[in-house]
Symmetry: C2
Subunit: 113 residues, 2 copies
DNA sequence: ACAACGTACAACCACTCGGTTGTATGTTTG
DNA sequence: CAAACATACAACCGAGTGGTTGTACGTTGT
């Protein structure tokens, strides 16, 4: 795990640590939405929602494309999978602990058997 | 997804959004460690590490048990799996979008066939 | 042309975060 | 018992977060 990976992980988890952003991500994973369409769904200013979208974009969880005056946001499922993969790596460490506990019990007096 | 779930998710992702905390979680998933043992691994005060452990504990990603004067911390793999499951749910939303795109193309002129 | 719309960003504010030091309390060891 | 150790927590501080309003600018519709 190099420094850049940790930077990306910081951005991923920080982006996901806000419920409004998680909700935005759900919507744009399910389908493309303009920023103002998203903004209408929440009880906060357009600017606040626009900043949330920008955080998700900087984290690489969402991409935008321009269509006329609208910015259409789309969720990036590959990034979501990368975050999931990190959690799986954490699980693997835990499985390593179990394996070592097995070793502890497997004090086989006759490894030949 | 009810309010309590969102609260838990906030705590999970916030706890994971710091690289020191992710590193602590890796260690305590791999095996039990006392808080002071963990603290010796990082270039910061004991109090700072103790606070990181407390954040992970409040998020339910780690549990502590007392043994004499030491507090032994252990990672909770079930919580890690719950976080992973949330990411999987996000992926499912994306697959829903693909399914709807398939519907769009499946303009079958003869559904009987 | 011009009004309305959609976006982006700056400036500001209350609050939180990640670190510090200091203090209190319980536990182990000489 | 006294000294050293492990933990917990309060108080503080600079930096960052999540929200606001205001402004600027390109696009669309009448």
């Amino acid at each position: 795990m190099n420094e850049t990976d940790e930077d990306r992980a910081d951005a991923w988890f920080h982006a996901l640590a806000d419920r409004t952003r998680r909700d935005i991500l759900r919507r744009v994973l399910a389908g493309e939405h303009s920023v103002s369409t998203l903004a209408r769904s929440y009880d906060m200013s357009f600017a606040a929602v626009q900043k949330h979208v920008a955080v998700l974009e900087r984290a690489g969880l969402l991409t935008k494309r321009r269509q006329g005056r609208e910015a259409l946001a789309s969720g990036d499922v590959e990034a979501v999978r990368s975050v999931g993969a990190m959690l799986t790596e954490l699980e693997a460490l835990w499985r390593g602990r179990i394996a070592r506990m097995d070793e502890l019990f497997a004090t086989d007096p006759d490894p030949q058997q």
